[in-house]
């Protein structure tokens, strides 16, 4: 009897597992302005300024009008590579495709600072890129982990 149940339970469990795997990334719709508020009020972004559409284009090769909103904060100091970027896109596929832009950004920074700015390099090497649903999160900063936490909390489905 137990055997008969188990014969069905395990395949069912597998199905549930696959389903969860496929839907694990689903996110809730958030107000990007509200989230921006949350970041700018945080003391870890105190020395950072807002990046413009132009800068987004220049450093990431991303057009702001292709997005449904973004947060871009960058360090106001020249020799500092700290950056925070959160994109809200129309769908999951395009969020995923911007991952490459972020990787390219990191590889340019890495090439520039390799053998030259070791502290910046550490920040670059520990940078976080994460795609969740139609959101992309990018952070290069000693506080990257903290920012990521904020991001995950914000988009998490209740």
């Amino acid at each position: 009897m137990i055997m008969k149940i188990l014969k069905i339970v395990f395949p069912a469990l597998l199905a549930v597992f696959l389903f969860l795997l496929l839907t694990a990334d689903s996110v809730k719709d958030i107000n990007i302005e509200q989230l921006k508020e949350e970041y700018t009020s945080d003391e870890s972004t105190a020395s950072m300024t807002k990046g413009s559409d132009l800068m987004l284009k220049r450093f990431f090769g991303i057009d702001a009008q292709d997005l449904n909103g973004y947060i871009y904060e960058r360090s106001s100091s020249l020799m500092n590579v700290n950056e925070l970027l959160i994109l809200k896109t129309a769908d999951e596929t395009s969020a995923g495709s911007y991952e490459r832009n972020c990787e390219k950004r990191l590889s340019v920074l890495r090439a520039d600072f390799t053998g030259y700015g070791s502290d910046q390099l550490t920040v670059i090497d520990n940078a976080v890129i994460e795609v969740k649903g139609n959101y992309l999160f990018y952070a290069a900063s000693p506080s990257a982990e903290r920012w990521e936490e904020l991001f995950r909390e914000a988009v998490k489905k209740p």
């Binding site: 395990f10 999951e92 596929t93």
Partner: protein
């Protein structure tokens, strides 16, 4: 192709990584040999789960459910042996295994097709492939079929079953060993000094094959890959394919050696997976020597159930083609792999129905050259990103290029001459025979030789990580 692990991620704890050799392995060995006999399998199982979880812990859940499922199905099939119910259970178990394998391996391809047919745009979510999935589902299917056929009893102890299915030495890259070979060892085995020493020897030789031979000659292959076909000379193309021929052999057989050696350190005896395939005198022989556990799996669980060779010639040919298309597909969801498999199917049919009937007995050297020629043609398909790319490489190799011998070939032939010679020699049994002699005459000298090889292997493993980070650009 950095390695043979399908869908290999960089975080995966492969055997030739510093973290595996110098941290994971010593800890597991010490714990294993300290604990009492009855918990040894549990230790192996736990170590295997940690090993598997490294980098992608979520799939531990998958492997746990799969293991429990196959365990239950094995018991169920055994219990109802001889009744139709056993057959239904077997079908259920095999189908679930194949569905899981198919889901992860062909998921992207599947969604693409569905989108194409129904004009949908279901976004493809990139799922990391669970490592070793092709190996452990095949091991599980063999077990279930064997229980059904009465070839072996079902395993009643779930820890032992888990150890069999998920044991870390064979988890990622095989060999696809059979439960019938391991069942008695699971309950009763001892690690003898000789057995342990033999395991160490195999592991270290395998490690050297992987990091010293495969990875080094792999550099020549990457140089070939980075050249455009138009600028390639014919000799360079042959050189590139030759480099791949050695890279895949030393990569894969080195990994198998390491797996068998590791298993030996824990008292398991596992059959060899490679037997000097590159000295074969025919394609048929080649496949008796290359990835032996996979070949015998397809023989026992596909070819023979289809009727094997005890059928009409037409049916036999069809059987061979089915088996080899599937063998190709097993290596990856791409047309190049299927083509590669079918190419071997055709070669085997040709040998069986044509070559065998010609009363011609050329010298062994000619047969070996014939075999290696077609094996290399096979690798052209295997390593190509697409079928057109494969044919374009072939055309360069066979005179389609304006250049027969260029400075590229001259340079790489000169700088890789010694590695190539070593690769050729190490693919034959002679150096190993010589080494056996040394072992039995001067044990310290033989041990010192392996020791030096190991230190050099370590240097190569360390350099590998140095290289990944080090990239100066001013």
């Amino acid at each position: 192709m950095g390695g043979i692990i399908p869908g290999g991620r960089e975080e995966a704890m492969i055997f030739s990584s510093l973290i595996f050799v110098f941290l994971f392995l010593p800890v597991v060995l010490i714990v294993y040999h300290l604990v009492p006999a009855r918990v040894k399998n549990l230790i192996i199982l736990l170590a295997s789960l940690i090993f598997y979880a490294w980098g992608e812990p979520v799939y531990v859940i998958l492997i746990l459910i799969m293991t429990a499922f196959c365990y239950v199905m094995g018991l169920d099939i055994e219990k109802h042996k001889g009744t139709p119910s056993a057959g239904y259970s077997l079908i259920e178990a095999v189908v679930v295994n194949l569905l899981i394998l198919g889901f992860f391996k062909y998921y992207g391809f599947l969604i693409d097709t569905i989108n194409g047919i129904f004009r949908l745009s279901i976004p493809i979510k990139t799922l990391a492939q669970p490592l070793g999935l092709s190996f452990y589902t095949f091991r599980a299917i063999a077990y279930l079929v064997d229980v059904f056929r009465g070839k072996t009893k079902a395993e009643h102890n779930i820890i032992n079953f888990g150890t069999f299915l998920a044991m870390f030495p064979q988890l990622l890259c095989g060999p696809i060993d059979r439960y019938e070979d391991l069942s008695s060892q699971l309950t009763d085995r001892t690690v003898t000094r000789a057995g342990f020493g033999y395991g160490v020897e195999l592991f270290l030789i395998g490690l050297a094959k992987k990091v010293l031979l495969a990875d080094s000659i792999g550099k020549l292959y990457s140089a070939f890959v980075s050249m455009a076909n138009e600028s390639l000379s014919a000799v360079m193309a042959w050189l590139g394919i030759l480099a791949f021929t050695f890279q895949i052999y030393y990569d894969f057989s080195g990994y198998s050696d390491m797996a068998i050696g590791l298993a030996g350190m824990f008292g398991f005896k596992i059959k060899k997976n490679f037997d000097y395939p590159y000295i074969s005198k025919s394609i048929t022989e080649f496949w008796r020597r290359w990835h032996i556990s996979l070949g015998s799996w397809f023989r026992d669980y596909v070819y023979i159930p289809l009727g094997g060779n005890r059928v009409s010639a037409g049916r036999h040919i069809l059987n061979i083609l089915i088996v080899w298309a599937l063998t190709g597909l097993w290596h990856g969801a791409a047309w190049t792999y299927i083509f590669w498999g079918l190419f071997y199917g055709l070669m085997l049919i040709f040998e069986k129905y044509v070559l065998m009937r010609i009363p011609l007995h050329p010298p062994a050297a000619v047969k070996m050259i014939y075999t290696m020629f077609f094996v290399m043609i096979g690798w052209v398909f295997f390593q190509s990103s697409s079928l057109p790319a494969a044919f374009s490489t072939l055309s360069v190799m066979f005179g389609g290029s304006h250049l027969f011998f260029g400075t590229d070939a001259a340079y790489y032939l000169r700088t890789y001459l010694l590695p190539l010679i070593i690769c050729v020699l190490a693919a034959t049994p002679w150096p190993y025979r010589l080494f056996r002699k040394l072992e039995s005459r001067k044990p310290p000298a033989a041990a010192a030789a392996v020791g030096v090889l190991t230190i050099i292997s370590t240097a190569f493993m360390v350099y590998d990580t140095y290289q990944t980070f080090f990239y100066v650009k001013f």
